[in-house]
């Protein structure tokens, strides 16, 4: 038994074993370095997995050597390898950047707990993605959600509203998980198995029935809630706004994406888009909601006075693009969706980290803090601008790649009107991002008042290096993957082909 053979289980085992030790680490700084090491190791093992899958095809790993359908199988193909890399990569960048920010925003005694929760949250998200067992998805989902509720509540020291936000999130998240597990129960009842591939086999053999159809509807709604599908996104703006900045950066980049991934997995390789009821759901439920989210949530973002809240609503709109790609039901649409999952993770992580920098220095995340930012914190400001342009979809950034493939997919599906709507909704993004960029570049920094000096009463300085470096790595990734599209587009294309082809 070499280590390489056990590679598929490493992204789970490493943080699972490591996280509880955070409880006994007395010092926040030690916990910080410990978490960096663990997240980096996890990231490396995910890169290894991606490499292995890209070269050698789907990896199947039997947990404890129990063969499926009885045992739990970890099944890694390109689609989830890409999401695994995104999650662990964002964690490996956000955790190093988090210390100054969390030290300023949370109770110092809770910092080791914070890192423990971060690791568990990452572990849960990775587990949801990696597993080939439907019930295991639910288990990991709950693990990550519970950790997220705790992480959001950590913002309670800076702003008490974090507590209600966290509580609402808990209720809604539990509701979503319940729907999901009801859906699973129905599928299990109909097929007698919980292994994803096996469910598919059984469905193909025995055909569908009411139970499967209802089960699928429950899963879509449960996961839609987790993914913040419009209009079930109401928990999200508060959770993202009042969570500690570093937590926002991580969950905005990773957690909703995982829910979208689960939607893709259940739609295309567990149930299968070749069933009439699935394609009807895609066209009549998913597509209208995706389009509605693209417009309504983006419009709400335009009028926000809180930048984190604006980004949160923008996320709801962006989720709309991912769901739109899925709802086209074509290989090109799926490819566009997977590309956007990855790319949007890169943009939002960079954007929320730059807000974290502003929060660290000025103690606010409202638009006022961004007045004349280019003069006060040039690197943070530039990072926000680049990532913001990427969010709009300016050429040479990943945002453009996403829009490009989504537009192509819309045209290929002979739905030019959707392409028109995509472009129209992108224009709304121009407004809400442009608004902040205008503040950053053209306004003068305040001459007096509460934002004249930083939180400690000193002249405002640039954010510390530990925050700038990870943030700029993300910004450069936005540009790099905007130029080297062959990496993401090719992998996502193959992932989409295998998801659709597996039908």
């Amino acid at each position: 038994m070499s280590l390489i053979e056990q590679l598929p289980v490493l992204p789970i085992i490493i943080p699972l074993v490591a996280a509880p030790f955070c409880l006994i680490i007395p010092n926040g700084r030690i916990a910080y370095f410990y978490a960096i090491a663990i997240s980096a190791l996890t990231f490396l093992s995910c890169i290894g997995l991606l490499h292995g899958v890209a070269a050698g095809g789907t990896i199947s790993y039997y947990l404890g050597d129990w063969a499926p359908p009885l045992g739990i199988e970890y099944r890694i193909d390109l689609a989830n390898a890409l999401v695994l890399t995104l999650i662990s990569g964002v964690a490996a960048l956000v955790i190093p950047a988090s210390y100054p920010s969390i030290a300023a925003e949370a109770n110092p005694k809770q910092i080791p707990l914070f890192y423990g929760a971060m690791l568990i949250c990452m572990l849960g998200l990775l587990g949801v993605t990696i597993t080939g067992d439907a019930f295991n998805v639910f288990v990991f989902l709950e693990i990550s959600s519970l950790a997220t509720y705790a992480l959001v509540a950590l913002g309670g020291r800076a702003d008490r509203r974090a507590l209600t936000a966290s509580f609402n999130y808990l209720v809604m998240g539990t509701l979503g998980a319940t729907f999901f597990v009801i859906g699973l129960g129905l599928l299990y009842q109909a097929t007698g198995t919980l292994n994803m591939a096996d469910i598919r086999v059984q469905l193909l053999e025995n055909g569908t029935n009411r139970m499967v159809e209802a089960g699928y509807a429950f899963i879509i709604i449960g996961m839609g809630l987790k993914a913040a599908m419009f209009p079930m996104h109401l928990w999200l703006p508060n959770a993202y706004t009042y969570a500690p900045s570093a937590v926002s950066a991580f969950i905005a980049a990773a957690s909703t994406k995982v829910a979208v991934y689960v939607l893709i997995r259940f739609t295309f390789s567990v149930v299968g888009a070749d069933f009439d009821f699935v394609s009807a759901m895609l066209s009549y439920v998913l597509m209208p909601l995706a389009l509605a989210g693209m417009f309504f949530a983006s419009l709400v973002a335009v009028f926000q006075t809180d930048v984190k809240r604006m980004l949160a609503y923008s996320s709801v709109g962006q989720i709309g693009y991912m769901l739109l790609g899925i709802s086209l039901g074509t290989e090109a649409g799926l490819q566009a969706s997977i590309i956007h999952i990855f790319n949007h993770g890169l943009m939002k992580a960079a954007l929320f980290l730059s807000v974290a920098c502003v929060m660290l220095r000025l103690g606010v995340h409202t638009v006022d803090g961004f007045n004349g930012l280019a003069k006060r914190m040039p690197f943070t400001a530039a990072a926000f601008i680049f990532a913001g342009l990427s969010l709009v979809g300016v050429p040479l950034t990943v945002g453009f790649v996403s829009k490009w493939y989504l537009l192509q997919a819309a045209f290929e599906a002979d739905r030019a009107w959707i392409a028109f709507l995509i472009v129209a909704s992108s224009l709304i993004a121009v407004v809400y991002v442009g608004r902040i960029i205008e503040l950053i570049l053209l306004r003068e920094p305040p001459e007096d008042g509460p934002l004249f000096r930083d939180v400690d009463g000193n002249p405002v300085r640039e954010a510390p290096m530990v925050m700038l470096v990870p943030m700029w790595i993300l910004v450069l990734a936005n540009v790099y993957f905007g130029l080297r599209t062959d990496v993401t587009a090719d992998l996502a294309g193959r992932a989409a082909a295998s998801l659709i082809g597996g039908q």
Partner: protein, 582 residues
Amino acid sequence: MGTTQPDFFAALLGNPAVLLTLAAGAAAFLGPGRESVRKAVMLAALAGSFLFTINLGLGTWGNLTVFGETITLLRIDPLARIFAIVFHIAAALNIIYAWHEKDRAQDFASLAYPAAALGGVTAGDLLTLFVWWEIAAITSVLLVWAPGTRATFLAGMRYLVIQVLSGTLLLAGVVLLYRETGSLAFNAIGLHHEDGSLHIAGLVMFLAFGIKSAFPLFHNWVQDAYPKSTLTGTIILAIFTTKLAVASLARAFPGEEALIYIGAVMTIFPIFFALIENDLRKVLCYSINNQVGFMVCAIGFGAINGAAGYAFGNIIFEGLLFMALGAAVYRTGTSLATELGGLYRTMPKTMILCIIGALSISAFPGTLGFVTKGIIIDAAGEAHMFWIWLTLLFASAGVLEHAGIKIPFFTFFAHDSGKRPDDAPVHMLIAMSIAASMCIGLGLFPGLLYGLMPDQEAISHYHPYTAYHIVEQLQLLVWATIAFGVLKVMKWYPAEVPSTNLDADWFYRVPGRGLLMWASAATAAIWGLLWKSFQARVMNVLARVYSVHGPEGNLARAWPIGFMALAVAAMLAFALVFALLA
């Protein structure tokens, strides 16, 4: 699967026109004090792009499927190749000629604008053509604006309006054609369907090309804008826009009978204006119309060789005439016939080069004009259209009068203006000498040019130096020269008087100006009204959007948890309905 984005960028970077445009942009960063470096970079870019284009050979590149449509960014067939080659040569000559010019914007335009024209002639589909068509309009207006006066600004705006109108028509034609055929391919289009009915899409595009090639009644923008540009700007402008239109006409409407008559009128009418015009730059601008008329006629006869060949030749020798006149203007500061004259004493080199250009444009045997124009006259004869043939002969004589004799005569001879300027600067002499040696070299050895002709089958049967051709042409030239002499001696030739430029422009300026002022005031009023109602509407919509989406709006406010759960339940019901009913 559609085109991936790297394919798209790779295709863009494999297109000489795109590379030249990028080079123009990069060169524009070389600021004051580094003009020579900038010119050298521009020349190097042209040389590189030329070699690249030649090395590509014939074929298509950049075949992309973008948003479900097939486009071809680059197509080099023999027709595109001959234009691409001469565009490169002309752009390079202009850069050398304008070596003294320090204006950054002009330098940018003098590379980006030829690049756009190059992109247009090598466009493999209509959408690509349209894009380059518009870029050519926008980059060229920089040259009209270059002198920076109010008059040139207004002329530039008028020019831009006409060019954009042409672009809009082209786009309309493209859309109509796409609806008809479902394809964006750029091939022969024709004005009529097979059953003889009018082809609307074809007609719209015909008008678009017609405006750019300055068909009669659409021609005024040439005389309006071109002479107002700078010395070097006029030369560049004179070359590319109309020739791009000719290349497009040759591709889309070969053998279209209407073009024969349009072309014939184009060759004739400018002659009269040119004869009485006092400003020699304007004379040459009229000459552009006349010369393009020959090409249009050739396209009408289906003699694509004639059109392409004459375009090639014309770019060289008309450019040479413009350059020689430009050198005189550069030294004396005027282009009016009344103020020039007698410059041969101190500008002998320029004078000789100018005469070579004049001989060439008059199609004197042994020059580039002779070996290219003969194809067109021959085609007219073979088509057995006596009147057209006669018109073209008459127009040829007219070319001799206004371009072949008038330009050199009034510039370098005629009455002595008393001016004793230095000969042209070295860089101008170099550019002119290259053009002049091409005029004579290709005139004596036309094989090289003929090898580039689009229709090799037809050109192999054409021999320029037969007794018939030479005698015909010499008769024409001799009689026309005698006519000029007689008119001059009898004082019947319109003398060079400063006030003559009233004729064409009067209708244009006095009643036309009134009409224009009225039209612009009316347009402004209508626009104002529209904007007002539009603005009110926008404000209204924004207010409504804000009331729903604003921070206190229903979509943005924080909702109690019960409501959230209710929303989820509603969604579940919604989803279940579709799942179970489907």
